[in-house]
């Protein structure tokens, strides 16, 4: 199957909530084993089967997912989406760690 869509995750801002993984009908996404600079495992694509349905982006509370889809009409020039992390230790391994709640928020 030709690639119909893909997603870009801003992994430094991702909080590892896994809601996108849960929402993806294609099981395209999973959680990395590594943690980002904020201490969170982040979402990564583990399959090439994204349909660009945007479900993941809709449920992502932190708006860190950008979704792309093949367009019949548009024919873009060569392009890439770039994922970066400041730590410079970007690895994509997954492990399904148990994400603990209660690690954000402020009091007023």
């Amino acid at each position: 199957m030709a690639v119909r869509g893909t997603v870009k995750v801003d992994i430094e801002t991702c909080k590892g909530c896994e809601l996108c993984v849960e929402a993806c009908p294609q099981d395209t996404l999973a959680m990395s084993k590594e943690i980002n600079n904020n201490g969170y495992h982040y979402a990564v694509t583990i399959q090439d089967n994204c349909t660009g349905c945007v479900n993941c982006a809709l449920v992502c509370p932190d708006a860190v997912i950008t979704v792309y889809r093949s367009s019949a009409k548009k024919k873009d020039k060569e392009a890439v989406a770039v994922i970066s992390n400041v730590k410079g230790d970007l690895r994509v391994t997954i492990d399904n760690p148990n994400v603990a709640g209660g690690v954000g928020g402020i009091d007023v």
């Binding site: 893909t6 590892g16 809601l19 548009k74 060569e78 928020g105 007023v108």
Partner: protein, 273 residues
């Protein structure tokens, strides 16, 4: 810094973070519904092209600094007084669009009088009401909307009617007020819910442009931290436990109540968790 390049040739962006959201990383806990609602709200404001004429009112609650994320003019109101603040703004700037964004403690406990009277005056603004059945910000105390039997830090044995009263359905109450025009209950626990929410927000802003009166959107949301669950569990718990009490759907459309729902909460036994 290392990078991964994802080929996007021949693709177009079908979803990206709207410009109406700032680049500031949100402080919310992982999976918190506040983020989702912020995003939807700001998408609609971007879509409708009303960023330059919308003024938001932040509450006291976890979303107290939502002004750091929403790229519009905003005021931060005292706890419970967002609709009073919004009244002040909207009355002097009737042609601007105004919304409040409030938690259940803010709107349905300390702010009850302000909520009801703003709705009763038919203030022409939008109230976004995040019902997560708990006081998120202060560390998980009971909210007026907490379910019977629900364990919180002030109901260690579960919420009991005798001391803490019933979960309050303020949305149904304000729907009985003639000043309200569009009242709906939505959620954010899955993509479909998010899509519905977006439509509701769009509708509400359009009503405001047409000066129809008060619109209120209750969003049944989660609080993974306060509920002591992970986000995925929390959203499941929401569906199973919150919906029987706070059933999603439109309550009032174009000034008319949608259907005759039972106006009293089912009694203790039925709702006991």
């Amino acid at each position: 810094m290392s990078e991964i390049q994802v080929p996007t040739n021949g693709m177009e962006v079908v979803w990206e973070k709207p410009k109406t959201l700032t680049d500031t990383r949100m402080h919310y806990c992982p999976g918190c519904g506040h983020g989702v609602v912020h995003k939807v709200l700001m998408e609609v404001i971007a879509d409708l092209g009303i960023q330059d004429k919308t003024i938001g009112v932040a509450p006291v609650g976890c979303s107290v600094i939502s002004y750091n994320y929403m790229n519009i003019d905003m005021q931060e109101a005292a706890h419970g007084r967002a609709t009073a603040v919004a009244t002040g703004i909207k009355r002097v700037l009737p042609d601007k669009l105004v919304f409040t964004y409030q938690g259940d403690g803010d709107l349905a406990a300390i702010g009850t009088a302000e909520t009801i009277h703003a709705c009763n005056r038919g203030e022409n603004f939008l109230i976004i009401f995040i019902n997560n059945a708990i006081y998120g910000m202060t560390g998980g105390q009971m909210a007026p909307t907490s379910l019977l039997g629900m364990v919180t830090s002030t109901t260690p044995e579960g919420r009991q009617v005798e001391t803490q009263g019933f979960p309050i359905k303020i949305t149904e109450m304000v729907a009985t007020l003639p000043g309200t025009y569009y009242i709906t209950r939505q959620s954010v626990h899955n993509p479909t819910a998010v899509r519905y929410l977006k439509k509701a927000v769009e509708k509400a802003f359009k009503h405001q442009l047409d000066k129809k009166g008060t619109c209120l959107i209750e969003v049944v949301s989660n609080c993974p931290s306060g509920w002591k669950m992970n986000p995925v569990e929390a959203n499941k718990w929401l569906e199973q436990n919150m919906f029987p009490m706070y059933s999603p759907g439109d309550i009032k459309i174009e000034g008319k109540l949608v259907e005759k729902k039972p106006t009293t909460t089912p009694d203790k036994k039925e709702t006991k968790l």
